[in-house]
């Protein structure tokens, strides 16, 4: 049965790039196969597929628990069944762009914690580095294996109305979401049988093997003991930690399972203490070692930083990588690429204003209705001001707050995030999306898994894709 109704209310947003439609009467070629399939599927069947996808997430425990009145409620991260599709030439540019960027960022981190040529040469002001809360003095002069600091990155991209991909954030600390990249694909296989091979979609399932390989490379042991350190079951990404540990066949440990003794890290086993060689940690720097950072932390291991500095354990990502994905440092990434690689950036930055500079503050204040203001050390979509949505009063209050410590704020023009078709109440509607591909660095170079996590703002007209604020996700298909 044909389902013509499906597209009946697909109203393209003005001045916005749509992933599926070139113009109201022309569907981009990469979407033709899925489009035919959707058209020939009845609304009832689509609804059933949506229900099936929810059920699959629930049954497998791909959930996070929200605690309310002592009662834990299992929630799933909303999933939209219509995949987001990227052509091979689009991907080729993303792939090259991310590799270039990570290469430069990694050189930058190494430089900052050693010689600091980039400061000496006047590219980045010293006070910016030293005032950054994510700069770790404890990492000065520490030599890391293969000079790699960022082993795992999840770079956030958006597509602007010019059709170009821009980098929004670099996420070099403990980026999450990769389990959704893997799980979303598994769900797609179930709800669109046969469609993936027909489209020649590149697989993503190799990610855990590749990650394991990169982790293993870091140790000089023949058969290193590699563990994944989780903050525990109350962490909202706990599902991801268990999944990655299972898919790599490594032990999932909590801080209390580990202990430092004689300058090594051990885990407490039924067999006594067993040495740990590589730790893929999903615990933030601040909680890693109560002796050196937040002393109230029970999530980390006392003394682990001293072991790390001695080279007796590897921590992934290296502590202190937060210096490079700080929102104030972001502005300098194109300069870093030129400085370290002598190349032009392949992926663009979003134009960013530093509110600490009076002339830029003036400009932002004047154009505030078209600006979004962010704290340089904020994340998760909190503490932002969206100029076009805010009232005069809210803007006034916010700017007063900014003035107190203007260096901690940046502003960017409100972006036209590209839209992709989402199945909403049985009909396709355009919703804003971004893209987080996952990259792994090792001694043989950088691998970017073809695909990633496409996050979607499910609320109509919303630009906020964060899961904590009504966002969902889509499977991301990259065509061979």
């Amino acid at each position: 049965m044909a389902n013509d109704d499906l597209f009946s209310s697909y109203d393209l947003l003005p001045n916005t790039w749509d992933e599926m439609y070139n113009n109201p009467s022309d569907i981009r070629s990469q979407y033709k196969i899925i489009n035919e399939y959707l058209k020939s599927t009845s609304p009832e069947m689509l609804f059933k597929k949506e229900e099936l996808s929810k059920q699959l997430f629930m049954n497998q425990g791909v959930t996070f628990t929200v605690y309310n009145d002592n009662e834990g409620i299992e929630k799933i991260f909303p999933f939209d069944i219509v995949p987001r599709i990227i052509t091979s030439s689009e991907w080729e540019k993303i792939d090259r762009g991310i590799k270039q960027r990570l290469k430069a960022l990694n050189l930058f981190i190494k430089d900052i914690y050693h010689e600091q040529y980039i400061i000496e040469d006047g590219i980045i002001p010293a006070e910016l580095i030293y005032s950054c809360p994510n700069f770790l003095r404890e990492m000065k002069g520490v030599k890391v294996p293969h000079d790699i600091y960022v082993h795992i990155a999840g770079v956030d991209l958006i597509r602007n109305n010019d059709g170009e991909f821009y980098v929004l954030e670099d996420n070099l600390r403990t980026p999450s979401g990769v389990s959704y990249m893997l799980e979303n694909r598994e769900i797609s296989k179930r709800i669109f049988p046969g469609i993936i091979p027909k489209n020649q979609i590149r697989p993503v399932s190799n990610y855990p093997n590749l990650l394991y390989k990169k982790l293993k490379e870091l140790s000089d042991q023949n058969d290193p003991n590699i563990v994944l350190l989780t903050p525990g079951i109350y962490n909202s990404a706990y599902y991801e930690h268990t999944t990655l540990a299972r898919l790599m066949g490594i032990e999932l440990v909590e801080g209390s399972d580990l202990v430092v003794k004689d300058h090594f890290v051990f885990m407490k086993t039924t067999n006594g203490l067993k040495r740990v060689d590589v730790i893929y940690r999903r615990v933030d720097d601040d909680f890693l070692d109560p002796l050196e950072f937040n002393e109230a932390s029970t999530l980390g291991v006392a003394g682990i930083m001293a072991v790390y500095r001695k080279g007796n354990v590897n921590i992934v990502n290296a502590p202190g990588t937060g210096i490079a994905d700080d929102k104030a440092i972001y502005i300098y990434v194109p300069d870093m690429i030129k400085y370290y690689l002598e190349e032009d950036p392949i992926l663009k930055n979003i134009e960013t204003y530093q509110l600490g500079k009076p002339e830029e503050y003036e400009y932002v204040a004047k154009h505030i209705k078209n600006m979004v203001i962010k704290k340089t050390d904020g994340s998760g979509g909190y503490g932002m001001l969206m100029g076009h949505e805010a009232t005069e009063e809210e803007i006034k209050d916010y700017l007063n707050n900014v003035k107190k410590n203007a260096d901690n704020f940046i502003a960017q023009p409100i972006l036209r995030l590209s839209t992709a078709p989402c199945c909403i109440d049985g009909k396709l509607s355009p919703r804003c999306i971004d893209l987080r591909p996952f990259a792994l660095s090792g001694k043989d170079g950088i691998d970017v898994t073809p695909g990633g996590l496409t996050r979607v703002a499910l609320k109509k007209g919303s630009l906020v894709v964060n899961s904590s604020q009504g966002g969902g996700s889509k499977d991301t298909w990259v065509i061979q």
Binding site: M58, N59, Q60, G61, E71, G72, E74, I233, Y238, T242, T243, A245, R246, G249, I250, E251, L252, V253, E254, S256, D257, M267, K268, T269, T270, N271
Partner: protein, 307 residues
Amino acid sequence: MLSRVANNLIWLDRYMERGNGILSLLKVNFYANQDSPELFSWSPIIKNYTSTDNTFYTEDAVACIDFIIFDNENSNSIVNIVKKARENARSVQEHISKELWLCINSYYLFLTKKGLREKLNEEDLIVFLDNLLAFHLKFYGNMEITLERGPAYYFMNIGKYLERVIQISDFTAMKLIEIAKTSDNLEQSFYWKNLLLSIGGYQLYLKKYKSFKEDHIIAMIFQDTLFPRSVYYCINKLNRHVNLLIDTGELEKNNIEFLLGKLESTIKYTTIESINDQGLDNFIQSIKEDIKNISYSINTVYFSNIN
């Protein structure tokens, strides 16, 4: 294996075994209660599975079953037991099979699904209980078929047989209190039959002994070598899995093995006459004491260094 993981595996299985035991008990008591409500009241069951400060008691079958399955405050309610089993399973996912995790997770989702509790008033009670028991059967089957014979499997079995032997002792002690209240032979035989049914040994008993005799029942519950819910069988299995852990290097030879071996021979070689001489309740008490010591030793050996 991480000590925490071993601990969680033991408790994962203890909770599942406890859930199975409680549900079987509810089912058997429901039938018995239909015949003679004065002999098979609900209060002793509630008492055994709640803390000392519990004030809720009822003789209404549905209300009692509702309370035991769904009450949030009661840490031994089925909902809470399964929740804890699932939490333990969740944290050891890389040590159990994916199938086993899916099985426990689906049980949890079934129990916490909106509207299930209301169904208790509408559906046939036995069907309702059987639906829950089916999850336990799936769990047993899944574990046998999908788990490799290694430390995770051995630790889970330790949890299972530890819990089972505690349950058998508890059930028997509970019945002995009732039996002591009456001198009527027929009533006493009802209690014994009910005990056999609760631990799932009635059919085997009839096959083996045909008619009711207290000594035979005691021999079957405590000493039978083939009945999977006899005390002897459980201790024997505990012993076996402790030895397997020693073989795989997960446990050093120590007093756990000694305590278990001693208990196993005590149960095996104590005659019915001597059990009767010391009194069955005392016999049970001493078994419980030994089990407590064994369970305590397991804790000190493996888990004293957790936190």
